[in-house]
Assembly symmetry: C2
Homo-oligomer: 382 residues x 2
Amino acid sequence: MLQPAFENNGGYMDNLLTGNHSEKIFLTSDSTVDATLSSIRHLEPELFRQTKIRLDKKTKPLGSLGMLEEFAGKVVAISGKQNPNLSKKVIFTFAGDHGVVEEGVSAFPKEVTPQMVFNILKGGAGINVLARHSGIEVRVVDVGVDYDFGNCPGLLHRKVARGTRNLSSGPAMTVEECIAALKVGIELASECRDEGIGLVGTGEMGIGNTTPSSAIIACIAGLAPEKVTHRGTGISDQALEIKLGAIRRGLAVNQPDPANPLDVLTCLGGCEIAAITGLILGCAANRIPVVVDGFISTAGALVATEMNRAVRDYIFAAHQSVEVGHRYMLERIGCRPVLDLDMRLGEGTGAALAMHIIEAGVKILLEMATFEQAGVSIGDNS
Amino acid sequence: MLQPAFENNGGYMDNLLTGNHSEKIFLTSDSTVDATLSSIRHLEPELFRQTKIRLDKKTKPLGSLGMLEEFAGKVVAISGKQNPNLSKKVIFTFAGDHGVVEEGVSAFPKEVTPQMVFNILKGGAGINVLARHSGIEVRVVDVGVDYDFGNCPGLLHRKVARGTRNLSSGPAMTVEECIAALKVGIELASECRDEGIGLVGTGEMGIGNTTPSSAIIACIAGLAPEKVTHRGTGISDQALEIKLGAIRRGLAVNQPDPANPLDVLTCLGGCEIAAITGLILGCAANRIPVVVDGFISTAGALVATEMNRAVRDYIFAAHQSVEVGHRYMLERIGCRPVLDLDMRLGEGTGAALAMHIIEAGVKILLEMATFEQAGVSIGDNS
């Protein structure tokens, strides 16, 4: 078990801020991270109630737009705005490398991480196509790629390490690196608030990063690695055994404390996963709804919700990934995915599709006529 | 059992057109409908195979975009074009009234049908909001509203009857009316081909139209009405009993032949349901992919697939409706829905959302970079 700075300073305290929820907030030893964590409140039911009243006046049977109506209520409650403006939407694709790749856990070589960063910057990757399709900007962040990008235009340079260390033989990151990656995400969320961005999506690119993601859910939920480990980009039976072995050794060597999300993230995580955790915390603190992509992004979201349960209120789960461990993450967070399309690409591709659907719910609230406006007779269930 | 014109002329014949599929095509006594039905072929696997090869060269793990990749393959195979152009997309919202409303089967009064037609024409309905959101044009078709719209601009005037008769006491339509409504849909599909429309969606507006839809699936699949009948726009327990009674009487009085889809449609259907059947047949005949909305639209699709099984190849099921009978329809057709968002509004709202996702799949095929183009190393699963 890793027991550095936060052993004395970190830990849980009661969160009595919202009255109804006496939940615990995990604190680190970093003032920025702790201020962010402490400022996240559960949503107020009153804003949902008000939105439901507005939606019930629209020309449709009560509740007949199902989850779209829930999305509208949640975005209003998160933003605190009766008429949320989602015209500016951004997906952050965080890139990072993983020391555990040296074990042979991925079907792709490590150099694919920077190659795909260039592909995304040129607009040719899956995330570019799907984000363009829905009017969403993609921002690529180097938070941990083992490659010197130099002064590469378009890339957000926020490198905290040139890849993680091999989690199967020791901690993937130092606590300082992990905190630094969390703060990259937190700072980007603050910038989104300043820019008036209405909806944020998470994404990632990192060869090998289903391995740390499986390790994180196995550790936090106390599940056997074979229950939550899958083929990632499409590895063979033999490589799957290697991957499982790496995760088992990682858990045995590091002995991360499941009740200590920062310890789990530091020992088993990745720079991009930690940055996603930070982005989600920052969005929640800044009242920006955040759409969490698939397996790896949800690993980041899981750590965030373990630090403060109220974070869950600010999250939309974009889709159900094919990766077998994903549903355990979503169950633990308590999120129903928007889509289920057998996808497992990452980058933020599921988020891009889901953001369009969530925005549709908000447009229903903002643009649809009421019975009165349209001169339509009200049914006897209204 | 209704046994008019098609008793002698109609019936099934072997479909040996595609070689592999010796399926039967149901024929009516109408030359336009029969020519349409006879021209619909099963898709060729070769086009799917070619598309898969192209998709496997894109910068992503093999198959990792799941259903999006299937959508791309299906649109290519349907259209017969390697690079399908989906820039023009249309949803047809067919409006019709239902005599069975006099039984008290709906929570809304009958005058809501024309009121909602006006609402859609003004752009204030749910379908307008969602279609605008995804760049889809909405066309409203009066195929059977019990209201004189006069020279109402924007409305497509294709009225075949001022509403159906009460299905609980006799056939809802005459065979002539039913054929006329089928031909409305078939002709609109031909116009779409001429206009170069790449993707069509179905929708409907008709107070009371979950009742005929439940009756149709109950009859065709031989299911007890209580298994496939739900609350529609939100009726009470008492009204649900009335609705069930009307369906039971409709099946008993008309004795429609489950093996004769035209008989089922004539006795139990609606003008808008028949027009949807026709639109789907016409799209299949003209090789235009067609996205079927929820419960009522799927009733129309079910009749179309009972007439010619090959129609199924041209259909996308937009979403899983909350209406309990919907899954029985989708099971029988053999379609997996794109979305599952607890929706039950109709109008084409589910189709509007699903069309955006299907188009996303096509854009992946057309816009994403290959490994070679992007200079990305290929994994050992490629």
